[in-house]
């Protein structure tokens, strides 16, 4: 619903709570209930993109057809572990704790 300002009045909205723009789910943060998070070993990853296909949300980010070096999206990962389950090389490990840690394998370097 993020295309409406948070202070939008009831009569300023689309009928029936319809979201009139396509592809805006990424603007809505739904990662708040995670209690495990994935850590991927990029050295082991073969870029098969199974994790990207199977992720039920959009937590696996891809750039130039590669996940290597790309962070998981903390706004969308719910810690379900499907990416770890489907990884054919077992490169993804689910680690206790909701917070992604800077410097973890599979996470971008701290700026």
């Amino acid at each position: 619903m993020s295309h409406y300002p948070p202070d939008a009045k009831w009569h300023e909205m689309e009928r029936a709570g319809i979201i009139p723009q396509a592809g805006n789910a990424e603007e809505y943060s739904v990662g708040g209930w995670r209690n495990e998070h994935p850590v991927r070993d990029d050295e082991c990853c073969i870029d098969c993109l199974f994790c990207w296909i199977y992720c039920p949300d959009e937590a696996v980010t891809v750039k130039d057809e590669s996940v290597i070096g790309q962070p998981f999206s903390a706004d969308h990962c719910k810690g379900c572990g499907i990416c770890a389950e489907v990884c054919p090389k077992d490169c993804i490990e689910m680690v206790p704790g909701g917070e992604f840690q800077p410097g973890e394998p599979g996470q971008p370097e701290e700026e």
């Binding site: 619903m1 948070p6 009831w10 009928r15 029936a16 709570g17 009139p20 396509a22 739904v30």
Partner: protein
């Protein structure tokens, strides 16, 4: 034409045909020719869908007929077809309506003008197939417009108007067109079935509004909607009902211009100078008319108020119609368990209170599970009203008509 003429021959002379309520509803659906009908049979509404399915099989309509495995699925399929951009109709009764419950709210929340004929029947338990209003009264908060028919002609007329009321661009709400089970659904009545072309022209083609299958302009229906926006969306839904009220008036008038039978939110029968007024929904109004006429012949200032539109509730119009009455009786064909009176009584007395009017008002629960309501029962209501007018306050607001006690 001699006395030996058949009913059918006599009817043709008057330009009318003899149909059961269910057949009349199926005829209206054939003429409306909806895009999709998804239905599951239940007594006493079964014949509507059965007859309509034959129209589909015979190629008399262009409708896609979806045979589903339950009423929950029926209403789900109707919702999906409506959101996809089609004109959608369905019919059910009692427990079938109850099984649709969850989806009823979603259809109205998503503002889809699905048209549902409800043939009113008692809800279980114990199991009973006959008329009362417990099914649609239970669904009164589900966000659907509700029209109640007094006779088969009105059931036919209401179903046609329901399409244009629901599809009005300011309204976009689902509509229940209600008729009393067996009393109307299985009773033959002479009625005028209008010309196919005239009905199709009156109803007009369906205009989809933001359909989900518009792939060039995609939209999301029914997303997660939490404490940050849900309240605003419900408020905006509430804003549609005054428009629905206006659409019922406008379409009732337009129907009258086209076919000679005009309708409104309520119908007043001899209320103008009435001191004693009885209020009811559905087929009981037909019996009430006769009783009121009889009382008038005896010099009693009796009147009848028929509530045609129960949702949205015409509070202002009801209060105006009751102006000047010294006692009022509200007839409820449903119980509201645990409430202090029946559902129609609550609406009427709340409307009077809100507009600062105090008229002594009795409530009668009657006709549950198809218990017959006879002229003498209604006569006794007016006898009570004479006493109520003198007493100024009911000793006990709720009593029961036709109950062994």
């Amino acid at each position: 034409m001699g006395d030996n003429a058949t009913l059918e021959q006599k009817a043709q002379v008057k330009g009318k045909v003899a149909l059961e309520g269910n057949e009349a509803a199926a005829e209206a659906m054939r003429q409306i020719n909806p895009d999709v009908v998804a239905a599951y049979p239940i007594t006493p509404s079964t014949e509507i869908v059965q007859t309509f399915a034959q129209f589909v099989a015979d190629g008399e309509v262009d409708t896609s007929f979806v045979a589903v495995e339950s009423e929950h699925s029926a209403m789900s399929a109707c919702l999906a077809a409506a959101v996809g951009g089609g004109r959608v109709m369905n019919a059910t009764s009692a427990n079938g309506l109850a099984l649709m419950w969850e989806i009823l709210y979603i259809v109205s929340s998503l503002r889809q003008p699905v048209i549902l004929t409800v043939v009113n029947r008692a809800l279980s338990g114990n199991i009973n197939i006959h008329c009362d209003h417990s099914d649609t009264m239970g669904a009164r908060d589900a966000g659907w417009v509700q029209l109640y028919a007094e006779d088969v002609q009105e059931a036919y007329d209401n179903l046609i108007q329901a399409v244009c009321i629901g599809e009005n661009m300011d309204v976009r709400l689902p509509v229940m067109s209600c008729m009393d089970g067996f009393l109307l659904s299985h009773s033959y009545e002479l009625l005028r079935v209008e010309d196919d072309e005239a009905v199709r022209e009156w109803v007009g083609p369906y205009k989809p509004d933001m359909p989900m299958l518009d792939i060039d302009d995609p939209r999301t229906y029914g997303p997660l909607d939490l404490y940050d926006f849900y309240f605003e969306h419900k408020r905006s839904q509430m804003a549609a009902y005054p428009y629905a009220k206006q659409a019922i008036i406008d379409e009732g008038r337009r129907f009258g211009e086209a076919f000679g039978r005009e309708y409104g939110l309520i119908e007043e029968f001899m209320t103008e100078d009435a001191e004693l007024i009885a209020i009811a929904l559905g087929s009981t109004c037909g019996t009430l008319r006769d009783v009121v006429q009889h009382l008038r012949d005896e010099g009693v200032k009796a009147g009848m108020l028929k509530i045609r539109a129960f949702r949205p509730f015409p509070a202002e119009e009801v209060v105006a119609a009751l102006d000047g009455a010294s006692a009022v009786a509200v007839l409820d064909r449903a119980a509201s368990f645990g409430a202090h009176a029946g559902p129609l009584y609550h609406e009427i007395t709340s409307a009077l209170y809100s507009y600062g009017k105090h008229i002594p008002t009795n409530n009668y629960i009657y006709g549950l599970g198809g218990r017959e309501i006879l002229p003498e029962d209604l006569q006794s209501v007016f006898d009570d009203l004479q006493q109520l007018a003198e007493a100024g306050q009911p000793a006990e607001p709720v009593s029961f008509l036709g109950l062994r006690e």
